[in-house]
Subunit: 197 residues, 2 copies
């Protein structure tokens, strides 16, 4: 029974990934077994490598392979702009847009009274340090447009007011967005921030 | 850049799993990096073990660790009943229902004129061998209630007619329903009320 137990254990672990439930974990594991050489073995090897090398940047919270990530180590990105995001997935999304050439600060979540997450549970003290030590001229608060995200943005803005220029991402209709698919809040914000043509 | 490339490569491989797209693969990889000791390392180790040991049973097509799977090796399950399923996920679904005590035969798909999958692309010749060599008294055709599933069931019924009793799962399997989507109770009830063909 040991072999079957390994497969079951693998299914259980896979089911703990975000976006996979028990059923999709079973499908994924069968797929992996069928594609042993093409997928299962390379995946296992890469996971081992990433487990051995990946770590959080001590400066910004991004994921990289050294104590300091590539973006923080890249002098060309020390342009005075610091973009504050909630998590690494948001940093990656910003990087894919290819528009931002400054540095990031990953908070690691949002303030939440309900989950008793205060400033010290996030990377907020480190953010305040960086604003002075790295000669930051503008902090862009790119937090999610959720209640917790906006509460966190306001808290940070209060802490940094008068010490640095502050901005946030413009709110509006996404490119290619259809009004009928947008929530009321987005439409309302886009209307309030409407531009004269 | 090599480290970041490993993380990107891991995301690309994860995105090739059924049920995960690029976005959920990125979320999964970030989750894995955060839960390195609890999830990433054990997952990598288990994948390595499964890659080294898992194989298809030469007799029935089930996934196990030897040339012959546990069910085929278990004499207590040689009760003359042989349940034919499309794939291993369906076999697992049948086993979870806990009702069936015989053996299985995994076809590996369904006949499909469109995809030019004929009997020899599936485990149909092997099925016909087993009916005689394993003293099978009844073949239960537990194929999905899809057009291809039922076409395949009819083809197999034609081949085995007069050589063995044939049955199929009772109505209760919804039209267009796939076994792996059903709850255990439905499978159980359909099996108990199976009809002779
Ligand atoms: Zn960094
Ligand atoms: Zn077997």
């Amino acid at each position: 029974m040991s072999g079957r137990n390994d497969i079951d254990a693998l299914i259980d672990l896979m089911a703990r990934l975000p976006g996979l439930g028990p059923r999709s974990a079973r499908r994924a594991v069968l797929h992996l077994i069928r594609k042993r050489a093409l997928l299962l073995t390379p995946l296992s090897d890469l996971m081992q490598t990433v487990a051995a090398t990946a770590r959080e940047c001590l400066n910004c919270g991004n994921v990289g392979t050294g104590d300091i990530c590539e973006i923080c180590s890249n002098d060309a990105r020390a342009n005075g702009l610091l973009c504050v995001v909630e998590d690494v997935a948001d940093l990656w999304a910003m990087e894919r847009s290819g528009t931002f050439k400054g540095r990031y600060h990953v908070l690691g979540g949002t303030l939440s009274a309900l989950d008793s997450i205060g400033p010290d549970e996030l990377r907020i003290p480190k953010l305040i340090d960086r604003v002075t030590s790295e000669e930051i001229t503008e902090v862009i608060l790119a937090l999610n447009a959720t209640v917790d995200g906006q509460t966190t943005a306001h808290y940070i803005a209060d802490q940094l007011e008068g010490r640095v220029a502050l901005s946030s991402l413009a709110q509006g209709v996404p490119i290619g967005g259809e009004l009928d698919y947008l929530d009321d809040g987005t439409i309302s914000a886009a209307l309030t921030a409407r531009k004269r043509l």
